[in-house]
Symmetry: C2
Subunit: 500 residues, 2 copies
């Protein structure tokens, strides 16, 4: 075997995996957006076949030998090829540690779980979901042990999302946040509350909200020829290649705010995928490097940009055009305050920036407990509700507004949640660095966000998975990760809003 | 190898083919409905991989040996299994006659063709489409010759859609239609024309039309848990299994009539797929047996039911609820006449029942000419326009309203068009037979169409591909196919409407 032959074999196999991944991705997207409800069973069978093929290729002798050969001849490879082989071997080592039958069974379980979760959430029926969530966690614990038998399985799980992340680091991170957020929130709650009553009690037609979404996508510079908007129970982003990215949102007739921030959030994910370097396309290095970096981009757009005063001043006149009667007499400043109202609430995706990390903390602690066995799946509602009382001081009225609210666990995204809080903190550090060379507020005020997106593209997006997440962040900001940028940002912003 | 072993091998391979077909079908559907415009290239690569796998399985040694063994031991099989092997071997013989590289290249060509056709149609730019349509026909001629080297390739092509169909039979069929339709149309045109002006010049919001579609689907008894409605340039139906069928429509703000009949037409296709026998599910016998039988069901619903007086009397009050201002002062009888207005027109899918077959005839003659070389792809607009002048007496203003109107050729559906006219005629013969035991008008008037759908399920739908199309028709109606039922129906209906 020559290096050229090995590269050819490697690339052909990666192309086949990419095709299978694309097909599975479209099946999932279709299932979540437009497929008829009884389609789940047939989709499950097809996903089982495709994932079985995927497993066979990823762990097959042909690809393994080619990749191993290339690893041994890494000096003869370009830097990008050498990095790709390294990243591929990490992935395939994980996959190969799982027996094929279990791998396929898990894909089928998740397909079934999606339908069960939708129904359970609609009916606020946790017992219907309990056996599924139990099996999903048990499977993840088992897989983590297959992969790293000598390591704590939740450390393994965290590291699958963010290479190098451990419980120790995550605990320290959340402690740093708690130290600032809990007293800050206490001070905020002692002040007169922001009035956001004007956005409630009216109907915002979905047709107008759809047009508003199109407008927002334009503002944040998304190329719609390469990115569409679907409608789902829980908003998400998926991508098949850099010319085919999909975001979804959920329209609520009672307010345009929820969908507005879903679109901007998912739009941030989409921008990252849409602007991966052309030279990475079709390799395992294309697209976002980790979910924390991904969330840093989505929450950057949603909060650091989308909940800033100049952004609201920019989009509010247009908002009034879409909803003239509903927003008659409202000012941009009122809207700015309303979208930044900080108060403990039930739903993570609708939470303000200040309390958001506390929602994530609840989920992180629960995942830890499910992994180490100190929490049983059956007890999830009780544990959930107790933690919401403890951290947010509120009572959860039912499981629909509690433990059943998120799609992550039914989707197998176990270990994902810390990414949201980490991403929020990464983003604040990026913003501080960006300000050194970019007039961020000026760009927003002008309506042309390209100076902002150009910085993100040059420092984050274009690199795909060329660097590990922590390396990428350090290269972008010129220093190690430090959560103080985030806590400083929160202190400053909410002190101003609440006159602390 | 035992029969049991051979059956197991056969079934595993068919399941794999089914999974690949499902994935490719969803990719196509997604591409036509919601995918961003630049997604075509990536989808093409994925379809090429999946179709290559499909080819390898369908023509592979393992499946071929199992099927051949089962054919030789057909006496030991159930009647259904024996039939399935026969049908599978017919299909695989055709596929195996095509070299794999050409098979995959054709899938890629069609994926590209779809995007080219959409753009060419939007811009009425035939020259942009000419090289593609030329290559598609050349490929079909080549494939037909690979399959049956000693047979006229267009006869081969027709027979791929409707087993046993030849040009001789199709010519005779169209001659029989022309003999009745041309003089009947002349008499109609000499009479005062029906007034349908009241349906034009207004705006019918798409949101209301969507709700009207949902209502129509209910009326024709479609189980929406197993069938969704998408929106595409050209309406179509696709199905992945009997719990997952999709129809599409195209809403025009200027009238609800086009989408109304698209929904009922595609709904007819969907009903056929949704009611294939449970015992056939997952086999190659599940679903419609041929496109002519399929069109007999879609055009049955669209015309024999949907354009009948009792149907309009049933749905018109509801239509007025959806469009109260637009249809104020209109009566059901006026609407009945309007949807049956017979006059030569440009667009096949919008044509009345009387002139419809002439639209199909134009396409049939052009396909014959493209196959035998007497028509060159470059000359298509001129030939098309001349035939519309000859058969329908009208001038085609541009290619968008002429040769570019249909999606069939860009979709590779070459040889399909005669199915529409044959299906219309089959349907009329089925209706005559149905009337012997079912009070068709009474059922429609009552709003409960189940006596009608039950007859179709019992005589057509449930059989899937258990019988060849002509056998199925004969079993259903108790005599050989005879187009006179269709021409009698047209004479009677249009004589009454136009007072001939």
């Amino acid at each position: 075997m020559t290096v050229q032959e090995a590269l050819k074999t490697y690339r052909e196999n990666i192309a086949a995996m990419h095709a299978l991944g694309h097909a599975m991705g479209v099946l999932h997207y279709d299932g979540a957006t437009v497929a008829p409800v009884e389609s789940a069973e047939g989709r499950g069978k097809t996903l089982a076949y495709l994932s079985g093929r995927m497993y066979e290729i990823e762990t097959g002798k042909e690809l393994a030998e080619a990749a191993q050969f290339l690893k041994e001849h890494r000096d003869e490879l370009s830097a990008q090829d050498a990095r790709e082989i390294e990243v591929f071997l990490r992935q395939s080592e994980f996959t190969a540690s799982i027996p094929q039958a279990e791998y396929v069974a898990y894909v089928e379980l998740l397909n079934k779980a999606d339908a069960v979760w939708h129904k359970a959430k609609a009916e606020s029926d946790f017992p219907a979901f309990a056996p599924i969530v139990k099996e999903i966690f048990a499977t993840n614990v088992r897989f983590a042990k297959y992969y790293k038998p000598d390591q704590n399985p939740y450390d393994t799980q965290l590291s699958l999302y963010e290479r190098g992340l451990t419980m120790e680091k995550t605990d320290a991170f959340f402690n740093a946040l708690k130290e600032h957020i809990v007293p800050l929130l206490k001070k905020v709650m002692a002040k007169p509350q922001v009035d956001d009553s004007f956005i409630w009690g009216k109907t915002y037609p979905i047709e107008a909200q759809r047009k508003f979404s199109d407008y927002l996508m334009d503002v944040i510079t998304i190329d719609r020829n390469r990115c569409s908007i679907g409608e789902t129970e829980h908003p998400f982003t998926t991508n098949f290649n850099k010319k085919d990215v999909r975001i979804t949102t959920h329209y609520h007739e009672e307010t345009p705010i929820y969908s507005m921030y879903s679109v901007i959030h998912e739009g941030g994910h989409a921008l990252y995928e849409l602007h991966s370097g052309d030279e990475l396309e079709g390799t395992v290095l294309s697209g976002g490097v980790s979910m924390s970096i991904h969330e840093s981009q989505s929450r950057f757009m949603e909060n650091l940009i989308g909940r800033s005063r100049p952004f609201i001043e920019l989009v509010f006149p247009k908002m009034q055009e879409f909803f003239p009667e509903q927003l008659a007499g409202v000012t941009a400043e009122q809207m700015y305050l309303a979208v930044n109202k900080a108060e403990p609430s039930l739903i993570r995706t609708e939470a303000d920036e200040l309390t958001y990390a506390l929602h994530v903390l609840v989920r992180y602690e629960i995942e830890k407990g499910l992994f180490d066995g100190s929490i049983a799946a059956e007890d999830l509602p009780a544990v959930w509700n107790a933690k919401y009382k403890e951290y947010l001081g509120i009572d959860v009225p039912d499981d629909k507004h509690g433990v059943l609210q998120d799609s992550h666990w039914s989707g197998g995204n176990v270990g994902y949640f810390p990414s949201y809080a980490l991403g929020s903190a990464y983003g604040a550090q990026m913003l501080a660095k960006m300000r050194e060379t970019v007039d961020v507020e000026g760009a927003i005020r002008s309506g042309d966000l390209r100076p902002i997106t150009a910085w993100l593209e040059a420092h984050i997006w274009k690199f795909g998975a060329l660097y590990d997440p922590m390396d990428l962040l350090e290269r972008a900001v010129g220093e190690p990760f430090d959560p103080k940028y985030f806590t400083d940002y929160l202190e400053e912003k909410f002190s101003a809003i609440y006159g602390l």
